[in-house]
């Protein structure tokens, strides 16, 4: 499941944020949907509006006939938090979640009839967050359990985004087995990547729920969300803290990150640069004096 996010920022040189997320199909992949929806909720809570989030979900969990609580997707044991609710805007659902559509969204090569909500309308001052989760392997990620996207394709897509200046900075988070292989091939500037496990390791799920009968979340995302719960729009936590999320003792796998392509020092990058949407404002100092109705003057 990839997620895109946009945010607005001045201090870092960006003015808007976008987010994109994606998930996989089938009941036993419940946790992937819960992962994505939880990150989606956090991102919304921190201020990114739906118009700036492209959410790609298979969306067959909530109304699956195996779901004992229909129209809900829980992310916590004992059904504490329903992350589906009535405020979820899914942009790509079901069969529309394909590698082709994902790459089209990233590169902007959509047919002209695509509505605004399905497009990534970022510009050169947008910070983008991409969150992917699902099943993966060394150098690939499974989409919908039937297709794959390879790390080379992803790197090329990012390069095309860079060529067209479709992002200012991009944060890529992946929670799959052998996730670190997906960011090995990146070569465009201003990319930062986090993965839940190294090559050769498996990312494990967190907790099964006996009532629902499946695992509800993955470990890395669970601890990532715990970390994000403490973030509010004005917080000053930086990326170095994000890198420490879910150490091996909790995650069993070793999370990895990559910052060599990023121009700024990760310690100066705020979490809200990517996860939130703090806008820059300027006071309007000047006004135009229009106290009387204006006649149309022919200017030649």
């Amino acid at each position: 499941m990839p997620r895109d996010k946009a945010g607005q920022f001045f201090g870092s040189g960006h003015t808007n944020n976008w987010a994109v997320t994606c998930t996989s199909q089938f009941w036993f992949n419940y946790r992937h949907v819960a992962n994505t929806l939880s990150v989606y909720r956090s991102v919304k809570r921190l201020g990114i509006p739906d118009s700036h989030i492209v959410l790609m979900l298979a969306d067959d969990m909530a109304c699956n006939h195996r779901n004992p609580k229909p129209a809900t997707v829980f992310s916590h044991k004992n059904m504490e938090l329903n992350v589906y609710g009535d405020d979820v805007e899914v942009d790509y659902r079901g069969y529309e979640v394909t590698v082709e559509n994902f790459l089209r969204v990233l590169t902007g090569r959509l047919p002209p009839s695509t509505p605004r909500s399905k497009r990534l309308l970022s510009d050169d001052r947008s910070n983008i967050l991409i969150y992917l989760t699902g099943h993966g392997g060394n150098g690939f990620l499974k989409f919908q359990d039937s297709e794959e996207i390879s790390n080379v394709e992803l790197a090329d897509a990012f390069e095309q985004m860079w060529q067209k200046r479709r992002y200012n900075e991009l944060l890529f988070i992946i929670d799959t087995c052998q996730g670190a292989s997906m960011y090995e091939r990146f070569y465009s500037p201003n990319l930062m990547a986090l993965a839940s496990s190294q090559v050769g390791e498996d990312s494990l799920s967190h907790q099964p729920d006996l009532a629902i009968g499946v695992h509800l979340m993955d470990r890395y995302t669970f601890y990532l969300l715990e970390f994000l719960e403490d973030i509010h729009p004005a917080s000053t936590t930086n990326m170095n803290d994000l890198f420490k999320v879910c150490p091996k003792s909790q995650c069993v796998s070793t999370p990895g990150h990559r910052t060599d392509l990023f121009l700024r020092d990760p310690g100066s990058v705020l979490i809200t640069d990517f996860f939130g949407s703090v806008r820059k404002v300027e006071i309007t100092m000047e006004t135009i004096n229009l106290t009387s109705p204006v006649e149309q003057v022919e200017d030649k």
């Binding site: 607005q8 001045f10 040189g13 003015t15 808007n16 201020g47 990114i48 509006p49 739906d50 118009s51 590698v99 082709e100 790459l103 089209r104 590169t107 902007g108 090569r109 959509l110 047919p111 509505p115 605004r116 909500s117 497009r119 309308l121 510009d123 050169d124 001052r125 390879s150 080379v152 394709e153 090329d156 897509a157 095309q160 060529q163 067209k164 200046r165 729009p233 004005a234 949407s277 703090v278 806008r279 820059k280 404002v281 300027e282 006071i283 309007t284 100092m285 000047e286 006004t287 135009i288 004096n289 229009l290 106290t291 009387s292 109705p293 204006v294 006649e295 149309q296 003057v297 200017d299």
Partner: protein, 535 residues
Amino acid sequence: MKCISVSALFLSCSLCCQLLVPLILSLCLSLSPSERRQGQHAALAIAAVVIIVGVPLWWRTTETYRAWLPVTQINELAKLQLQLSVDVEVVFARGTLTPEQQKKVPLTQTQDEEHMVDGEDLLMVVEVYIGQRRTAMLRIGAQMRVGRTLKQLLAHLEPRIQQVLQVMSFSHSDITAALSDRVRPSPGNKESLADSMRAFKSSPGYEITFSLLNPDPKSHRLHWDIESAVQNYIQPLLTKLAPVANFSIDSQILYYAMLGVNPRYDSSLSAYTLSADSLAHVINPVEARLGSNAASSNPVLNFLLYVPDAHHSPLYIHDHKKQKVHSNAFHSPRWGGIMVYNVNDFYGPDPVFPMDINISMAKVMGVFLAQLRLLLGVQSSATPPGFVVASCGSAGLADWELDRLMWSRTVENVATATTTITSLAQLLDQIGNIVINDNIAQQVSSTVTSLQLAVAELEAGNLGFALQYSKEAILASERAFFDPSLLHLLYFPDDQKFAIYIPLFLPMCVPILLSLLKMLSEARQRRKEKQAKRD
């Protein structure tokens, strides 16, 4: 993929069938020599067919269609050597020149200046008044009035004229800002960075949305005559900006839309205040509710008018120095502006709620117009000292400001279109598998033509035509780059290619090779026997 499987299958099936008969014969030991020879001829013929007909057929059916692109011209444009020329007419007022000097004034004088994009700016002190249209008045210093030669006079004037030109047409920093895509401005210059981040990027169209936020409909019944206000105040500006972009205007009213930030009560002012730091968090809760036109992908400028609820009236915005802001408004770069309109003055001695309130659109539009100018990049950065600029007039835009905008937009468009097709050409070169359709090649060619025309017009100084060509160039280049058929889904790693071809071609090639080898070994055997016989 289809081509590969079909052609390969066809070849392998037909040849395998034809191979079976003669090869079984040729490998069979109990054959008469003539039959064996027949088998050898058959094997040779099959090998010939495979090599002469099969391989080229497979090659042609599996290659990707790539239309021709004007790559050399694209590389030429990529150097981006633009020549911008401005026609200047200097008129001397009566009494400034002696009659002899007047006769000797040269008719034309061109001044060339090469601007390195990472160079420095010049600053001079001049006394100048810049008018609404395209004129400026300079005051010559007292020491220049009497007894100077023409040459000295002109030498004295030149730097001042240059200064005026930089303000009224384009300056070095303007060009750098327009090219901020390719050249990131030096991090030291914060003001130019803020300027380049504030204005929307050049786009063929913009959408402007005016929203009235009424969080307290129980107390206030608001009436705003938005349509006539737009017609009277905003439309003249947009009409004047028509050569630059298309604009579409919407308006909406939102009820029960709160700001999302709690204002603090200031007892000294007996009013509520919003500090400058909290303004950043105002926009997000509101933005989720704002509607927009789903059909277009044009950038949206949002202008919000917020009327505080009765319990939080009046509401003032404070700047960083804790001073009240005169306009009571703030704006967010590349997003839009918000103005807070206090209505407690309308209450009167005995207010009965809900109150009917007519909003004074002139005041509101004055603020929105100023914000619109900033967000569109019309507002110039601080003018040098000694300059006095006339107010912008009824259209909200002086002619020279429009020129200035057109210069920077043209340069920006030319630079963006050049970058787009250069990177497209590079991309298509790198990835051999992408199909280049005819329509893409045609768009690229038309981009190149438009760009060349735009550069030529810039050289000649025809701003209107240059802008038009640059807009055509941008549209064509965007259409070519974002064509849905250019999707890079044809990534085949080499091991996958082998995995596809080997099961199809190996069963076919192995018998051919074996029979050829057998024939070769038999021929060698015969030659040895002949040698042995002779000896």
